[in-house]
């Protein structure tokens, strides 16, 4: 996609607004606007080109994973002492990204934040796809991935069970629970919109497909009442779930005694970092989407502004965690922690560390300025910087902790191989492939909630008058 070209084409049509919804939107206009994106054929060439690129990356993922499964994880740069490299970095990164969606739909729903409406659907989709990408890595990083089912509790012919004290088993439960709950939450939200698509579709086959997946939704008041209750309950359940998932992921590190891993600050720090990177990904997706699908009325300046603020806030939490981590390393008097911290500052991976500090701490401070928060393309750039930073953060935690731990004799280095890079970039392919399919076949904004928003904003206006 070429943003400049698109800017020229559409710049005249853009009317930026500072409300959560553009002016003049009606029930019908929002319904038609969003459902038309799905029901209009043929497909756009930009979408097709994007999908082709994503499929190319996905193919690379297949090649990379095929090689990993054929030869072994030895094709990556991992070794003893650095037993985890890119794979677990990617896992934590994707899981982190996956946190924004459910948080937006659940936490902001509980908080009755109206601005969640336009972004929650694709944020949830992003969550699911990110968790799917993340889930790939624990599988792929195993030495014998064909035995992955030994991590699942089932009565086997050996009479043995998973080892439930291992954070990796907790991960299995946490990630699969998160994926399942996000999926049902997302689907629940989709049901009324699928009914809209069913009702608006012209072709019989389209009607049938959307008819099946919408379960025969007819908007009955009684249904709406249970539906709303269900959404509320799911939101209430998802909020602690979101917090727990990255907490459990952080347990992968905190439970271990590796210096730089064994830290009680990790759970809140990881959760904040997850929201930070998650919102960055939402912005990364939302800004081009609103541009190319002309959604400025739905994803307004106010949305960008709010998301910028959330990023700033979580970024500051992360910054606090960084400072505390360093402080505790020195204050504790623990030789190993001190060395680990000094090694991060000045060791072989110091450049990576300082890059991450720039990306996560320094760069995002521009978000203090509302002009920046309301400049989509600067915001887009910041979101990319933050995502880079968050990936590097996980890399630094994993690699600098391991590469020089307790016994100096076994210190080593981790150098990624081309298969490391291919696997990582390949999952971007998987993610974007799924995302491209999503924006083509499902409404990327929750239509029934938009209608509700139209209703509420009109109500407010009348009340104000």
């Amino acid at each position: 996609m070429d943003p400049a070209e698109n800017d020229k084409l559409t710049s005249t049509a853009v009317v930026e607004t500072d409300e959560v919804l553009g002016p003049g939107q009606t029930y019908r206009s929002v319904s038609d606007r969003v459902s038309d994106m799905v029901l209009t054929w043929p497909i756009g060439y930009r979408w097709a080109a994007g999908l082709a690129l994503a499929l190319g990356l996905l193919f690379m993922l297949n090649v990379a994973l095929g090689w990993v499964f054929t030869v072994g994880v030895g094709v990556w740069g991992i070794n003893i002492p650095v037993g985890w490299g890119f794979a677990i970095t990617n896992f934590v990164w994707w899981i982190g990204i996956g946190h924004a969606g459910t948080l937006i739909s659940a936490f902001l729903l509980l908080m009755r934040q109206k601005w969640r409406t336009s972004i929650n659907r694709f944020a949830e989709a992003m969550t699911i796809f990110a968790v799917a990408c993340a889930g790939l890595f624990p599988l792929a990083h195993m030495g014998r991935p064909w035995l992955f089912f030994w991590l699942l509790p089932y009565p086997d012919t050996m009479g043995v069970w998973p080892q439930f004290r291992s954070p990796l088993v907790w991960d299995v439960f946490a990630v699969s629970t998160y994926l399942t709950v996000s999926l049902v939450f997302w689907y629940t939200g989709l049901i009324p919109d699928l009914a809209t698509l069913r009702d608006r579709a012209k072709k019989r086959i389209t009607k049938i497909i959307y008819g099946i997946v919408s379960l025969g939704w007819r908007g009955s008041a009684e249904h709406w009442s249970r539906y709303e209750m269900c959404s509320l309950l799911l939101a209430g359940l998802s909020t602690p779930l979101v917090v727990s998932v990255h907490t459990v992921v952080s347990f992968d590190f905190t439970i271990a005694l590796v210096p730089g891993w064994h830290s009680t600050i990790f759970p809140p720090y990881f959760v904040a970092g997850a929201i930070y990177s998650g919102f960055a990904m939402v912005l990364t997706l939302a800004i081009p989407l609103r541009k190319y699908y002309h959604l400025e009325d739905f994803v307004t300046m106010k949305h960008l502004d709010f998301m910028g603020k959330v990023m700033l806030a979580t970024g500051l939490v992360v910054a606090y965690a960084y400072v505390m981590e360093a402080f505790m390393a020195f204050y504790s008097g623990n030789t190993f922690d001190r060395y680990m911290m000094m090694n991060r500052f000045t060791g072989p991976y110091a450049k990576v560390f300082w890059t991450l500090i720039f990306c996560n701490l320094v760069g995002p401070q521009v978000l203090w300025f509302s002009k920046i928060r309301r400049n989509p393309w600067v915001l887009f750039a910041v979101s990319l910087v933050v995502q880079t930073g968050m990936w590097l953060e996980r890399f630094v935690i994993i690699v600098t902790g391991l590469h020089r731990d307790f016994l100096p004799s076994s210190w080593g280095m981790f150098y990624p191989t081309r298969w490391d890079y291919m696997t990582f970039l390949g999952t971007l392919g998987l993610f974007f492939t799924l995302f491209y399919l999503f924006i083509r076949f499902l409404p990327m904004i929750a239509i029934h909630e938009l209608r509700d928003l139209v209703h509420k904003t009109q109500h407010e206006k009348t009340a104000a008058h």
């Binding site: 009606t26 029930y27 319904s31 038609d32 509790p153 009479g159 043995v160 069970w161 998973p162 080892q163 439930f164 004290r165 954070p167 088993v169 907790w170 439960f173 946490a174 629970t177 399942t180 709950v181 049902v184 939450f185 689907y187 629940t188 009324p192 009914a195 809209t196 069913r198 009702d199 608006r200 008819g211 099946i212 379960l215 025969g216 939704w217 007819r218 908007g219 009955s220 008041a221 009684e222 249904h223 709406w224 009442s225 249970r226 539906y227 709303e228 209750m229 269900c230 309950l233 799911l234 359940l237 998802s238 602690p240 779930l241 727990s244 459990v248 029934h448 209608r451 509700d452 209703h455």
Partner: protein
């Protein structure tokens, strides 16, 4: 042999949720009990008016039971292998080292609760139900777009095709149609 389709009810179409609310309220005041309202989004206060019976087990109750089942499943799932099925000395920890069982118990609680909520909602709503008489209403596709419908069903004891139709017309709808069963 052509069969004359039975009537499911009478459907009045409104343009705004406020009109629908008012119409529903008036129908209820008029003694109608078997009716339902259809809207493109959840209209606040509407269910209280049109729904006459309450669920025997509320959704929240189902979710609570699901959640407790999940907790218990998590506990048994970890207690049994570690204490009975195949106890192993893992890093010198006791067989029943319950603090490390908490994460999974928590996750299963959430999982079971969430699934109970969704499946509870679907089952209580009697879904999937791809065929429903109200879809026979000619303009009912607008119910998922921008129109609000009130349907008084024939099984209402007070239902009388002419009287009810008159009553509905009196509510100032866009249109009133007969819905085949």
């Amino acid at each position: 042999m052509a069969k004359v389709p039975a009537l499911y009810g009478l459907m009045a179409e409104f343009e705004t949720p406020e009109q629908l609310l008012e119409a529903a309220q008036r129908s209820r005041d008029d003694g109608y009990r078997r009716m339902d309202a259809y809207s493109p989004f959840a209209v606040e206060g509407l269910p209280e008016i049109v729904v006459s019976s309450h669920d025997k087990v509320p959704l929240a109750g189902i979710v609570l039971c699901g959640g407790l089942t999940g907790t218990l499943t998590g506990l048994v799932l970890q207690w049994y292998p570690n204490v009975v099925g195949y106890p192993l000395n893992i890093g010198g920890k006791p067989y029943f080292s319950w603090p490390s069982f908490i994460p999974i118990m928590f996750e299963l609680t959430i999982l079971f609760s969430a699934l109970s909520a969704v499946f509870g909602m679907i089952i209580l709503n009697d879904l999937p139900q791809p065929y429903h008489p109200v879809f026979n209403a000619p303009r009912f596709d607008l119910a998922s777009r921008d129109r609000f419908f009130l349907c008084i069903e024939t099984r209402d004891p007070k239902f009388d095709i002419d009287r009810t139709k008159d009553f509905l017309i009196g509510l100032d709808p866009v249109d009133v149609t007969e819905v085949e069963s």
